[in-house]
């Protein structure tokens, strides 16, 4: 793919009298495209294996008795091809097939969603007969029938091109949609006893060349020619799928995957495609709100709200110094917003209490994140072409679905060797080459062994890594931060062996937040507070005191030390691992400023609410897990009075007496870009590397500017006997023993109950049922039937979920769904649990 074709690898052919050289193995239909000749097609799709089923692409090949299908015929040297443009055989052949396709077609274009963007319509108009010779009866089916809550099927319109079924089998690997029956009764269907369960179902709607597959959320809502289409970038996960945002009368009607072969190719996931209803939902915050002296919330003008917020921040600073202010952001901000917030906190307020990590975090991850910050790569393509990929702490399908599809593609196309390290293999089970099993929280030792080699039972993998050289890649999920020493060990594996290294977060804005330095002690571009470099010149001042992380801030707030919390795009009451601490902090703290899109469980604690725009309502850029920054334009006007986050921050700074000098998002970008972007790879900057990049490698670094919270015992050492769950201890081995025999891993599902999915009803119906994943042997031993309810009991709590017995988890380990599934596993306390059957519940079967 990447190799440039040497002359020996090319063939010379003629199409419609024009000569060209193409790489060996190229299909005639692709070669014709290179000349600008579009051969009509239905079943052909550039990313699917040819089936040659529709027979629409017939061309004449000189010397051949029969016409050939251009979509399945490879170019050979000296071949002379004539398309419908120059050959009667081809043209008549195509016309004949079109007549056949229309035979049983209902021609209900006036009520078909595809009308106006339908290849069958277009081709009929271009090449088809003006009238039908068919006076006989058409095949009839009940229509439409649901394939899932999200996808409806009209079998009468189906041209049986098998694009949808091939997508399911080849690309997404969920073989729940199939062709059944034969002859004119052949039809797309799903199995009676197995639902079409796919995170990628929207793609089949998009690639269906007719209106046979439609999405229930878009059905009958617009005509393509009424839509205004804008390029967008998905705001749901770090995959960074390129989107087409289709807007009608100022409202988003649908999102489609936009081709970007370097990123999402031609796909996206259902969350990204269908999860946009929140934009116009009733729960949107549309107006600033301020708590008055009597404690009631009153709508306010922006001026009043900004003054109130500024006044409250100033009061906190006056009372306790800049460190009495904490700024928490989620992983959802654009790069520009992240930068603006980081500068606001440090420069305007003077506090280093900044953290984007609502999820569990450790101090040791900061060195790795600092090294990764601002770098680019390994990219999707590099991951795809890597001979070996080591995956740790990452459930690719649930967390970064499109990266999962790339890995699947690499496995399918060149049998990429995917090595999973850890207690869970999950969705990679189908495609992984080796699974290096470790108990929960013990990844680091195996990762270290992979780095050093010499471990006999890992020799197969280390040999493969040796062979792969610098083309191998390590993918480290953000969940690795739960496991003591694991993230540094993964980074060290990459560094020691010269592999590519990627830190793969879940959320779309996480990487931008890292690049912008939204962690205590970190500045844009991975610079540490002690060595700010150009940041010192660009900003007016830097905080003097090292800051607190999320937990530290909430603890300090609960203790009355932090007096104002500025919460931007996060809901700690629901999403923080310890909801009780979050609640206590919010109750105690003097001031809560909430800047968000949607009403959530935290908003009720707010003193000032500043309504922010949704991604489609603004310009900006998101950075993918690779480090690729992808700008996007505004698609719709903001709801109500909502404003862009950077702009709110700018005005707040102004109200506090600082002029940050920006007037547009572009101004922010211009200032941020040179500070956030870093040349070179993360590898050279990893701790332990020789001659590192911007950040000099110093293993002691984390000690130097250790934030206050790092004084708490860190993971791997004896955790204090405390009932409060510590994220650091969430996965390490306490002396659980007989009482708590299971180690815990927490995985957030792609489609959960998150606020970003408000209103996406059909999508939510396709969500996977939250369950406790247990190894079948453990389930059997405990008498837990698949689907039966089980109580998960920890030192501090007890939660009930159904059981899913799966060999994708190690024995002695359970996987619990994350907070977005409705219950917070953090409530269990600690990282070890036991399972107790719940009386009276049977299995699914």
């Amino acid at each position: 793919m990447t190799d440039t074709a040497a002359p020996a690898d090319t063939v010379h052919l003629t199409i419609d009298g024009r000569e060209l050289d193409v790489p060996k193995g190229l299909l005639v239909i692709r070669a014709a495209e290179q000349l600008g000749i579009t051969i009509p097609r239905f079943c052909d799709h550039p990313l699917l294996d040819p089936v040659a089923a529709c027979r629409q692409c017939l061309v004449e090949v000189e010397g051949q008795r029969k016409p050939f299908t251009a979509c399945s015929t490879t170019c050979t040297d000296g071949m002379v091809v004539k398309t419908h443009l120059t050959s009667d055989v081809a043209r008549e052949g195509q016309e004949g097939q079109l007549e056949f396709l229309l035979l049983n077609h209902p021609l209900d274009c006036p009520q078909c969603d595809k009308g106006g963007e339908c290849p069958l319509q277009d081709q009929t108009l271009a090449h088809g007969p003006g009238d039908s010779r068919m006076i006989d009866r058409k095949r009839r089916f009940t229509k439409p029938v649901p394939i899932s809550a999200q996808v409806a099927l009209d079998r009468e319109r189906c041209v049986l091109c098998a694009r949808c079924t091939r997508f399911s089998a080849e690309i997404s690997g969920d073989k729940f949609i199939e062709l059944f029956e034969r002859g004119a009764l052949e039809q797309v269907a799903i199995y009676e006893d197995e639902p079409y369960e796919s995170y990628f179902s929207g793609n089949v709607v998009q690639i269906c060349p007719v209106g046979a597959l439609t999405s229930t959320s878009y059905r009958f809502s617009a005509r393509p020619f009424d839509l205004r289409s804008l390029p967008g970038v998905c705001n749901q996960c770090s995959a960074g799928c390129n989107l087409r945002v289709d807007v009608r009368r100022g409202e988003v009607q649908r999102l489609l995957a936009r081709d970007n072969m370097a990123v999402n190719e031609m796909w996206n996931c259902d969350k990204g495609r269908f999860g946009f209803e929140y934009v116009a939902s009733a729960e949107r915050l549309r107006q600033p709100v301020v708590r008055d002296e009597l404690g009631s919330m009153r709508p306010a003008t922006w001026l009043t709200a900004l003054r109130a917020a500024a006044g409250r921040i100033q009061a906190a600073v006056d009372a306790g110094g800049p460190a009495a202010v904490g700024v928490l952001t989620g992983g959802r901000l654009t790069d520009e917003d992240a930068y603006a917030v980081g500068r606001f906190a440090r420069d305007v307020v003077g506090t280093d209490n900044v953290d984007f990590r609502l999820r569990p975090r450790t101090d040791e991850e900061r060195d790795v994140l600092a090294a990764v910050a601002g770098t680019l790569g390994p990219t999707y393509d590099e991951v795809e072409h890597a001979p070996v990929v080591v995956v740790a702490g990452l459930e690719t399908e649930e967390e970064v679905p499109i990266l999962h599809l790339r890995l699947r593609k690499a496995w399918r196309k060149h049998r990429q060797r995917i090595v999973v390290v850890g207690p869970v293999i999950g969705s990679l089970e189908e495609i992984a080459w080796r699974w290096i099993q470790t108990p929960a929280g013990e990844e680091s030792s195996r990762l270290t062994a992979l780095a050093s080699g010499g471990d006999a039972d890992l020799s197969e993998v280390t040999d493969a890594l040796d062979e792969a050289g610098d083309r191998g890649v390590v993918l480290a999920g953000e969940r690795l931060a739960h496991s003591p020493g694991a993230l540094p060990a993964a980074a060290e594996l990459a560094r020691a062996r010269g592999l590519g290294f990627a830190w793969v977060p879940r959320r779309n804005g996480a990487r931008g937040a890292v690049d912008a330095g939204l962690l205590p002690g970190l500045l844009p571009g991975g610079r540490i507070a002690a060595e700010p470099g150009p940041v010192a010149d660009a900003w007016g001042r830097l905080p003097e005191q090292p800051g607190l992380d999320t937990r530290g801030m909430l603890e300090a707030a609960a203790a009355g030390e932090v007096r104002a919390l500025y919460l931007i795009g996060i809901d700690p009451v629901r999403d923080f691992e310890d909801p009780a601490l979050a609640q206590a902090a919010l109750e105690r703290v003097d001031t809560v400023i909430v800047q968000d899109l949607l009403q959530n469980e935290t908003t009720r604690f707010a003193d000032v609410i500043l309504p922010a725009t949704a991604a489609q309502e603004r310009v900006g850029s998101f950075t993918t897990w690779e480090g690729r920054r992808q700008p996007f334009p505004q698609a719709v006007a903001p709801q109500g009075l909502a404003q862009q986050d950077w702009d709110i921050v700018r005005q707040l700074a102004r109200a506090l007496g600082s002029d940050l000098g920006w007037e547009t998002a572009n101004d922010v970008r211009r200032e941020a870009a040179p500070l956030m972007e870093v040349a070179g790879s993360a590898l050279s900057r990893l701790p332990g590397a020789q001659g590192g990049g911007v950040v000099p490698a110093s293993p002691e670094r984390s000690g130097d500017d250790a934030p206050v919270s790092s004084e708490r015992p860190s993971a791997g050492h004896d955790a204090p006997a405390s009932s409060e769950p510590s994220p650091d201890s969430l996965s390490h081995q306490e002396a659980g023993g007989a009482e708590f025999p299971f180690g815990v891993v927490v995985v957030d599902y792609l489609v959960g109950d998150s606020t970003m999915l408000v209103g996406a009803k059909a999508l939510k119906e396709t969500a996977r049922r939250p369950a406790v994943w247990v190894h079948p042997a453990d389930a059997g031993r405990l008498g837990l039937a698949d689907g039966a309810e089980v109580a998960v009991v920890g030192s501090a709590g007890r939660l009930v979920w159904p059981v899913r017995a799966t060999s994708g988890v190690l024995q002695g380990c359970v996987v619990l769904p994350g907070n977005s599934s409705g219950q917070a596993p953090g409530l269990l306390g600690g990282s070890r649990v036991r399972l107790e059957p719940v009386a009276g519940t049977g299995g699914d079967e």
Binding site: V51, G96, N104, L160, R182, L185
Partner: protein, 451 residues
């Protein structure tokens, strides 16, 4: 040319289907020879004999075997195509019933030549009796060391598995067969890769017809010269002809290739039924274009039949007299194709659906003048454009019947009746014909949640 008895030599024995009977009547002689031959020499011998596949396409068997790469490190499979779904064809059935060991012997020789250790017989699901005979034969062969490990002390290991097909005509097409054998839905595969390179489970695979394989032991035993002493230069050897229709004694008859149709029918079959004159016939199953009385003297070999405008196919000769309506017969076949179309490709799936409706309409006296032209056009749009040969085959009876019997169509359309001498064929032209459309059946898959 006289009738011969090579493949059918044990048809008259009462115990030809037992191992004892088989050995006593000279069976396994070919295998004994083959076990001492170098595999490449077996392939050369089969090439030299000029044996051509008996499954319909007539591809030279030795050449096919020669395509199999021996150096892939993957197993090589032999698959015997015993699906026998072509209308009018029943030669394999009798062969497996009466002489199952001849097939097993041929398989062992082929396997030896190909370096194959595992093979499958894909037998038509309805073939219960032949299946039972084969099962018994396989069991006996294993017991007596003609199959399994170290066959007859030669060091050669070879296994045979009998697989009952689920009853779809398309599964006789070799690539659909392989998909079905792998447990998938039987639909033809895209070629290349050809089965010889990537067939069953993506391993090199040879698919041969029952009769083809059953012919092999005789070639090995008696030599290429002997084989070529029968038949024509390009179509050598003996061949089973399955004759059906309006003849006195329908059945399987063995003649050298190239024997004129007239000789087979008039001598072996006792001619057409009394008072009936030959009107049209299919030389090789329903997928081969119809011929007429004019072609009665054409030799039954690949070349002669091609020259006459048809195909030898499976050599299933279906003979029809002047009492039969050709349109009626054609509708019957077209319904078969409509029903058996696998649905994968547009022209065959949609085309057969429409063709059957038009023919029904014509026979139901609702034909229109332009229908003949439409039938002809549709056939042209299917033939050579469909994904596999099933679609091509579906057009054969229609195209050829229009070619030779356009008058009958015209008469039906214009006068609403058949020529007087034709007997309305019960069950074909019925009062309510035209109502057997798929849509009038309950949709097999009423909801998306189907079984």
């Amino acid at each position: 040319m006289p009738e011969v008895q090579v493949l059918s030599q044990r048809y008259s024995l009462s115990d030809g289907h037992t191992l004892d009977g088989y050995l006593r009547s000279g069976g396994m002689a070919g295998l004994r020879v083959a076990l001492d031959m170098a595999p490449a020499d077996i392939i050369t011998l089969v090439k030299d004999s000029g044996l051509r596949g008996r499954g319909g396409a007539g591809f030279p068997t030795g050449v096919k075997w020669g395509f199999v790469p021996q150096d892939t490190g993957r197993p090589i499979y032999l698959v015997v195509n015993a699906d026998e779904g072509e209308p009018g064809t029943f030669k394999d059935r009798e062969l497996m019933e009466r002489d199952p060991f001849m097939l097993l012997e041929g398989m062992a020789i082929a396997a030896r030549a190909l370096g194959c250790a595992r093979s499958f017989i894909f037998i038509r699901g309805e073939y219960l009796w032949p299946g039972i005979r084969l099962e018994e034969a396989i069991a006996e062969a294993y017991t007596d060391g003609w199959l399994g490990k170290d066959i007859q002390g030669s060091g050669f290991d070879f296994d045979v598995t009998l697989h009952y097909a689920a009853g779809a005509y398309i599964c006789g097409e070799e690539t659909a067969l392989l998909d079905a054998l792998e447990g998938r839905r039987g639909q033809p595969r895209l070629r290349p890769p050809f089965p010889a390179v990537a067939g069953l489970y993506a391993c090199p695979t040879v698919v041969n017809n029952v009769e083809t394989i059953a012919t092999v032991p005789h070639i090995i035993e008696l030599g290429a010269e002997w084989f070529r002493s029968m038949g024509t230069e390009k179509s050598p050897g003996p061949k089973l002809f399955c004759v059906s229709g309006e003849v006195v004694r329908p059945g399987n008859y063995e003649f050298p290739m190239g024997t004129p149709a007239r000789e087979i029918i008039e001598t072996a079959c006792g001619g057409m039924l009394p008072d009936r004159a030959l009107k049209f016939w299919a030389p090789g199953g329903s997928s081969t274009p119809l011929l007429t009385a004019e072609h009665y003297d054409v030799g039954m070999d690949f070349e002669s039949i091609s020259a006459a405008g048809s195909l030898l196919g499976t050599a299933a000769m279906m003979m029809f007299s002047d009492r039969t309506s050709v349109v009626d017969a054609v509708l019957n076949w077209t319904r078969f194709y409509e029903h058996e179309s696998c649905g994968k490709c547009t022209p065959c799936r949609e085309g057969t659906f429409w063709l059957a409706q038009i023919l029904e309409r014509i026979l139901d006296r609702r034909g229109r003048e332009q229908d003949i032209q439409i039938l002809d056009d549709l056939c042209d749009n299917i033939f050579g454009r469909a994904f596999c040969a099933l679609g091509d085959g579906a057009t054969s009876p229609i195209k050829s019947s229009i070619k030779y019997f356009r008058e009958e169509y015209v008469q039906l359309i214009e006068q609403g009746r058949l020529p007087d001498h034709i007997e309305p064929h019960a069950g074909v032209v019925t009062e309510n014909s035209g109502h057997h459309r798929p849509h009038s059946r309950p949709p097999a898959r009423a909801g998306a949640h189907a079984r």
